[in-house]
Amino acid sequence: MIETQALGKRYGDLVAVDGITFKVEPGQVLGFLGPNGAGKSTTMKMIAGFLAPTSGSARVCGFDVEEQSLEARRVVGYLPEGAPSYGEMDVRQFLEFIADAREVPANLRNKRIDDAIDRLNLENVLQQPIDTLSKGFKRRVGLAQAILHDPKVLILDEPTDGLDPNQKHEVRTLINAMARDKTIIVSTHVLEEVHAVCHRAIIIARGKVLADATPAELESRSRYHQAVSLTATDVKAAKEALSRVPDVASIEVDAQDGRITAFPKPGRQIFVAVNAALQERSIVVRELALEGGRLDEVFRSITQGNAATEARA
């Protein structure tokens, strides 16, 4: 379990993290979203025990990260931003060093190391110096290092950055597989990842929590939520038909691909009515889809909309 209470970090006059409070239970994967420099990494560094908070507190499995620093660090697996590792060591040596430093019991040592190697497909690069590995492999070595001691809490700072789509998929599968009995925090700015791995997402900007909800709840804040989009051969007729549907609030046509989107009035559902209206007039539709909502749009409106209101104030 991870629990923070008004956690804050300031450097002189600069407030990097401004009183963040949240709680993550075992079995939950929390996604940390936010623009660059929002305070995601600083928050994770404080929970991992690298930086000391300047205000508030954080607890990991009940251990205060400042008062019981060693105990807290023991239960955490941490992938720092950029996945740093000792470049001159080979992969096996590096993992052995981590196992020793993490005090993995001698009878479990080889099993745990082999397990981590297996989970991240590192078999073929074991004897290679880490410096000579590709970016994707380096990141996987960093992940192997974080999960090696089978920690109860995992803090992963941008675990899929620099990976190709296949590797991204593998890492997400890995996170999902581990999520059952662990508490996991993942930071990312890849929004599709939120859907793929997170049960809950926190959006941070300028050190503050701006939203804390499930991915579906966040999507429902999008104006595209429950909107209907379609492409038709006769754009004009389709537009005309849509405008007759009573619950349609507005209609937009994409200038590039001619895609028509109909937005519902708040709280209304229009898919059935739109479908009926189109059939009634026998308009040929090539494609018709119900939109779930667009996370990137929600992300922009939350992080930038807030900046606009602050600027005015």
Partner: protein, 244 residues
């Protein structure tokens, strides 16, 4: 295995994983022999001792030890591994000690490899081996003090070149502390007590007295306190600077 040993082992291993270790050892052995035989006149003196070797050693260490210490912490900070190291369940003190001991052991290995000199002098004559042993001990302690200073300065910057230069200067001042070059800067304004205290900080004075064969508790204590103080300062500097 204790955390200090784990850190120390990893660090020492990484010296030998790169050419750094071999370059250092070869240069150290070549230069120390050159000083001993050419500048020190090892044969011409006709005396069975290692004074020509130990007389030049502080000056050699002045440049070679900072070359080892400069990477101790600045490299960790530059590559970001400091974040990895300090989020492992080890204390700051264990990390500082582990890395320091590895560097010290490495210098010790290089020093031990000068053993042919010791054998030579025993072959040629009948030296006082107690004095030679004491000198080796003094050399090791002096190297440890240089390293501890270097560790602290290396913690303060992520630039290894800056760490090297500042360490050379700091060590030079401490080596020369008992000499007019440094003392004259204080004599004009500082009270005599302070000038004496600074003179008492000189590496050379303490090293010279140990290498005469007299292992005085005060000299030992001087080096031990020196190492302890600078390592403690290292831990504080790392804690202050790790955020940037």
């Amino acid at each position: 295995m204790s955390a200090i040993t784990t850190v120390c082992k990893r660090e020492l291993r990484s010296y030998f994983a790169t050419p750094v270790a071999y370059v250092f050892i070869v240069i150290f052995l070549v230069l120390s022999s050159a000083f001993t035989f050419y500048l020190g006149g090892f044969y011409e003196r006709g005396q069975a001792d290692l004074l020509p070797f130990f007389n030049f050693l502080p000056w050699l260490y002045l440049f070679l030890v900072p070359a080892v210490s400069m990477r101790l912490w600045s490299e960790e900070r530059k590559s970001g591994t400091i974040e990895l190291l300090l989020t492992l369940p080890i204390t700051m003190w264990q990390a500082v000690m582990g890395k320091f001991l590895a560097a010290w052991a490495f210098i010790g290995i290089a020093l031990a490899l000068t053993f042919p000199l010791w054998i030579t002098v025993n072959y040629l004559g009948d030296p006082d081996n107690g004095v030679i042993f004491a000198s080796y001990l003094g050399a090791l302690l002096m190297a440890g003090s240089f390293l501890a200073i270097g560790s602290c300065i290396s913690a303060a910057t992520r630039n290894q070149v800056v760490a090297f230069i500042l360490t050379v200067v700091a060590c030079f001042v401490l080596v020369m502390a008992g000499f007019p070059l440094v003392l004259d800067a204080f004599r004009s304004w500082a009270p005599q007590g302070l000038v004496d205290a600074i003179a008492g900080l000189s590496f050379l004075t303490h090293f010279a007295s140990i290498s005469k064969g007299v292992i005085d508790l005060r000299d030992l204590l001087y080096f031990v306190l020196m190492i302890g103080f600078w390592l403690y300062a290292s831990a504080i500097v790392i804690d202050l600077k790790k955020a940037d």
